[in-house]
Symmetry: C2
Subunit: 321 residues, 2 copies
């Protein structure tokens, strides 16, 4: 019998949902703007709305459950949203229970970095690997890890908060309140801020010379057109990514590192600089680990959310130890 | 029937061995100075010698096997010493096979940080926990991690090389060749070097005023006697330890962090500074994780080596998921 799951990728700006089959194929999808300021009840209503939308007409005997990827921190042992910065009112609420009550199907809830790692593991660039690190570099930096053939969770399911390791003691301010976090240097936000700062008052660069805002995409485009400042910014961003990735190689010893998120759109430009830093910063045993771009693009989390469901109801025996 | 294992803790200066029972109790022990310059054959002979010494007269039906904790990096999937800096000639050799051939008993070989983490998990400060990080702070900084009720290995068994995460981008030189590693700042070696540098030419401190060398122990002793420079050095060391530990909290999300190695002798003095840094550097969800001293002291690795054997032949079901 064909098994189907609803995958939902809840973000600070969009709620995306899809009906997904056990091969990770998206059959239908829908998107809403997140009611980020409206509180947990309103957001849960949105999850219900998108779930109904993508599963309309699907027989309940085919529908295995709902997987939800959510911004963290979520205590996934208890299904509780601890304190989600991007969603108003998500402090200490029993989010998993709320979703289950509203949708009326079995629910799996996961921190977004871990859900995306699962998506890439089951259906993307990490298929068949025993050990992988997934990082998403966009507004912030998040991640998820598979080691020894298992998705890592740690206490309360909070492992893999890779963006908040310090790479510069007492360095730049991070939105988390700490100083010197990897996220404060290498996120898409930090990359764009650095670009705006350096481009300001510079006549030699094309950055900032049009109506378009200076963001990561604009820097990558300018670099491709030979803009020297943009090229230097890309080199610096790559180096900063490399510092953090080298750390992750020593800490987790993955077979592969997978990069997703908006900044991964410039992966080909960043790749040489990332590799150069890893060559100098990583011990010989770790230097040759492949660093690749996420294969599922924007859908790692969405497909990963569905994979939570399939993994729980019928784990793929072949990749378990 | 009483089951016994031989635990061997191979270090750069000492080979320590013990006969250990399934409760982690040391029944007999012996120590040799490591023939660190004499090559793999000579070191393997030493392992044979200490194994025979502690198991003399023990019936083979009681003796389950030999566990060896070794300086890394060891590829424990293949039993190969990749390139051990402290032992001459240990480059790409089939170390596990050599030990097995020489001793004639089943052998388990593990990277030292991971073996010590296992020792603390089974018989020390981490007993019964599902998630723990063990770090050893001495000449360098090493570690081992238990997550979701399992000892982490990662690709080739090299996970947990926590000493070589960068905490200061392009910072101080590390023996590994990189710059800015945690080990380059917070190891016992770095701590002692900083103390010697700061004490030099200072008349107000008792450090360096006797024949005794300035090392970590001397700094702790002087701090206890009210020496201001020593107290400041302790505060700085604690802060540097805290930076790295805060990183590990985000990366692994342990229930507890266990500190071993020589620098842990000053744990009570270091503890307030470690906690202060964690309060400022860790996100709220991670701040209250207990940081404790290793319960097995110098024997975490020795007892952990024996635990490798007992875990393999009869894993304790209760702590597995």
């Amino acid at each position: 019998m064909k098994r189907l799951a609803i995958g939902i990728d809840l973000g600070g700006t969009q709620v995306r949902a899809a009906l997904i089959d056990a091969d990770g194929k998206i059959l239908r999808r829908t998107t809403l703007a997140t009611a980020a300021d409206a509180g947990p009840e309103a957001v849960t209503d949105q999850l219900h709305q998108v779930a109904m939308s993508v599963s309309a007409g699907v027989s309940s005997e085919h529908l295995v459950g709902v997987g939800v990827s959510s911004p963290g921190p979520i205590d996934t042992e208890r299904g509780i949203a601890l304190s989600i910065p991007t969603l108003a009112g998500f402090v200490g609420i029993s989010f998993k229970q709320m979703i289950r009550d509203r949708i009326g199907l079995p629910v799996w809830l996961e921190n977004d970095g871990i859900a995306a790692a699962l998506g890439e593991w089951r259906f993307g660039a990490g298929r068949g690997k025993q050990n992988l690190v997934y990082i998403t570099v966009s507004t912030g930096i998040g991640g998820g890890v598979v080691l020894d053939g298992r998705l890592l969770h740690g206490s309360r399911g909070l492992a893999g908060h890779v963006g908040h390791m310090t790479i510069v003691r007492d360095g730049e301010n991070c939105p988390c309140g700490n100083k010197g976090c990897w996220e404060a240097y290498a996120s898409g936000t930090a990359f764009a801020q650095r670009a705006r700062l350096r481009a300001s008052g510079q006549s030699e660069t094309m950055l900032g010379k049009t109506e378009a805002p200076i963001d990561g995409r604009a820097v990558f485009e300018a670099a491709l057109k030979g803009d020297a400042l943009a090229a230097a910014l890309v080199v610096e961003e790559a180096d900063l990514l490399g510092v953090g990735i080298a750390n992750l190689l020593h800490l987790y010893s993955p077979d592969i590192v997978i990069i997703g998120g908006g900044v991964a759109n410039g992966f080909d430009l960043l790749q040489p600089g990332i590799s150069a830093r890893i060559k100098s910063a990583a011990m010989p045993s770790f230097r040759d680990t492949p660093i690749v771009r996420a294969a599922l693009g924007d859908n790692s989390g969405l497909i990963g959310a569905a994979a939570l469901v399939f993994d729980a109801v019928a784990p793929p025996a072949m990749v378990r130890i």
